[in-house]
Amino acid sequence: MDIFLQQIINGLVLGSIYALVALGYTMVYGILGLINFAHGDVVMVGALVALSIFQPLSASGVPVPLVLLLALGASMTICIALGVSIERVAYRPLRRAPRLAPLITAIGVSILIQYTAAMIWGKQYISLPPLLKTTQLELGGAHFTDLQAVIFLLACAVMGGLYWFVTRTRMGAAMRATEQNPDVAGLMGININFIIALTFVVGSGLAAVAGLMVVLYYGIGHYYMGFILGLKAFTAAVLGGIGNVTGAMLGGLLLGVIESLASGYIGDLTGGVFGSNYRDVFAFLVLVLVLIFRPSGLMGQPSAERA
């Protein structure tokens, strides 16, 4: 039973990171109807920028909270700049083009970011220097670190903030209006280009936070890490109902828990035939199952192809 609880806790922590990334996918999809393939790579850039801040400062005697703030600031700035430029250069000119065109540029941008990162940071794994001292906490027989707790709580706080922003502010209302119908929203005096750029700002900012968390959680970064993370986060977004902000949060947490439980138990269930090296398969399996049985996701509205 404590193993079960342990896996749930691990899954929730992991899932909160997925949820942050999934929000970026779901918001862009909601407004542009486009899978932003480059989003996972924005997370990767955030993670590697944070690592570049940690590397020189970890042993320099600068207080740890300040280092963390600096890293967050740097990776947010760079991710937001990156996200907005991607939108401006690669997606905006193609807003009225046939559907296939922006999808192809999206994958092109993703490749470009990956290999530019490989050029800047190299292809080896970059590890986090010893920075934080974690203490073990215990809850009902399951162990976790205070770092895990902070990641989870911080992610929840950020998501709460986003929820408030989208549902309670004027700008959030403008965002929802643009999502429903960009042309009509434009007629109502909403600056569509600004709102779309804002969506990318918010998504990329969340990506930076997620990148920092991944680095702190796994202690490692790599130019290719955005790919599988992006795939899982997208799955989370689909699971929750793509385009739906609350759904992405729920989907992220749920996917984290599913993955954690599945990779924890698959060895025992299959008598050791399949081990936890298949853990990346579960997200994909979830994606396909959701698409078969409930394509609109847990919280999404059934949507038809827009004419």
Partner: protein, 353 residues
């Protein structure tokens, strides 16, 4: 030369004879000028022509984005490798295995396409992207508890293509001409590539081909004219996959070795680049794209020493540079020349709207 444009039967026939002679002599000409390595590169280029034509059916004709196309290539290659090597101790002939590879790839295509193709097109992109990665997870890990795929080491000693007891992996001398394996495979691949071109061209003009193009241009309009869009899309997807399966089998026989390494996402992207760069939905363009992009890495090989000479160190690894160029090409092509380098008339009009 007035008769060139008129329906004079002599000139086109002469032209075809000249092209045929050129294609037949090509490996020997290339070998004497550039060396045997380039004959091998041409062989690989022909394989990529087949792959690109297969993906062209999915992306170019039906307008569905498949980002894991190499997975079908892997399915064909591994099927051939498993059933024609000492790995499982089975040695079946190629004329059985190639159609089996095509059929199996087809089945995978349908399994993937069925849940996603009734939804909006972009789901297919992400599902195929995932499938491309997942298949590698399986290939890498299916070496225990029972060793099926031999994991990351891959499968070696795969049987070459044998015709009536004559193995293509040996050097033969016929009528005083020496045929090295690369030469023999050239003719096999050439035949297959030409067949693929023929099938692609015939499909394009067929009832199905026109249904695909209708779906690509406007799915709702296509549906309302009575096209069963899901089934027709599924057909495009399965047919594209079967091209991949056959090429995979040929690849395994040609290399004599397969490993999960050969089937990475980057290879899917490269094939996509060939289709996009050449001209989606236009067979000559796609063939051109495949040949250009197979030759490109060979040309980039000189970039490493150049950097060493100019900058004193290697700033960009040539294989990374290749990927950067692919990424850039995808973005720039879509922004400035979405119909490709050598576009078809229909496609040009569509993007110009």
């Amino acid at each position: 030369m007035l008769g060139f444009r008129k329906a004079s039967p002599v000139v086109p026939i002469l032209l075809y004879v000249a092209i045929a002679a050129l294609l037949l002599l090509l490996p020997f000409v290339v070998e004497s000028v550039l060396g045997r390595t380039w004959v091998r590169i041409i062989d690989v280029a022909l394989l990529f022509v087949m792959l690109a034509l297969g993906l062209n059916i999915v992306v170019g004709y039906a307008g569905l984005l498949d980002l894991g196309y190499v997975a079908f290539f892997a399915v064909g290659a591994y099927l051939y490798a498993l059933l024609a090597s000492p790995q499982l101790g089975i040695h079946w002939p190629f004329f059985l295995l190639l159609p089996m590879g095509a059929a199996l790839a087809c089945v995978f295509g349908v399994l993937l396409g069925a849940p996603t193709l009734r939804l909006r097109g972009d789901y297919l992109a992400i599902v195929t992207l995932g499938f491309g990665e997942i298949i590698r997870v399986f290939l890498n890990n299916l070496n225990r508890p029972i060793n099926i795929t031999n994991g990351p080491q891959g499968i070696t000693l795969i049987d070459p293509i044998q015709v009536g007891g004559v193995s293509l992996s040996q050097t033969h001398t016929i009528a005083g001409i020496t045929f090295a394996p690369v030469h023999s495979y050239y003719y096999v691949f050439l035949a297959c590539a030409l067949l693929s071109i023929f099938i692609s061209l015939r499909l394009e003009d067929s009832r199905i081909g026109r249904a695909w193009i209708a779906i690509r241009e406007d799915e709702i309009a296509a549906k309302s004219t009575g096209i069963h869009t899901r089934n027709v899309k599924l057909l495009a997807f399965a047919m594209g996959a079967s091209f991949g399966g056959i090429s995979g089998g040929l690849f395994a026989a040609f290399q004599g070795f397969v490993s999960p390494e050969s089937f990475a996402l980057l290879d899917s992207i490269m094939i996509l680049c060939m289709v996009v760069l050449g001209g989606m939905g236009h067979v000559p363009g796609v063939v051109l794209g495949a040949i250009l992009l197979t030759a490109l890495p060979e040309a980039l090989r000189y970039v490493g020493p150049l950097q060493q000479a100019w900058l004193g160190r290697i700033l960009i690894d040539p294989s990374d540079l290749r990927m950067l160029l692919f990424g850039l090409a995808l973005v720039l092509m879509m922004l400035f020349r979405p119909a490709g380098l050598w576009p078809s008339g229909v496609r040009k009009r569509e993007f110009a709207e």
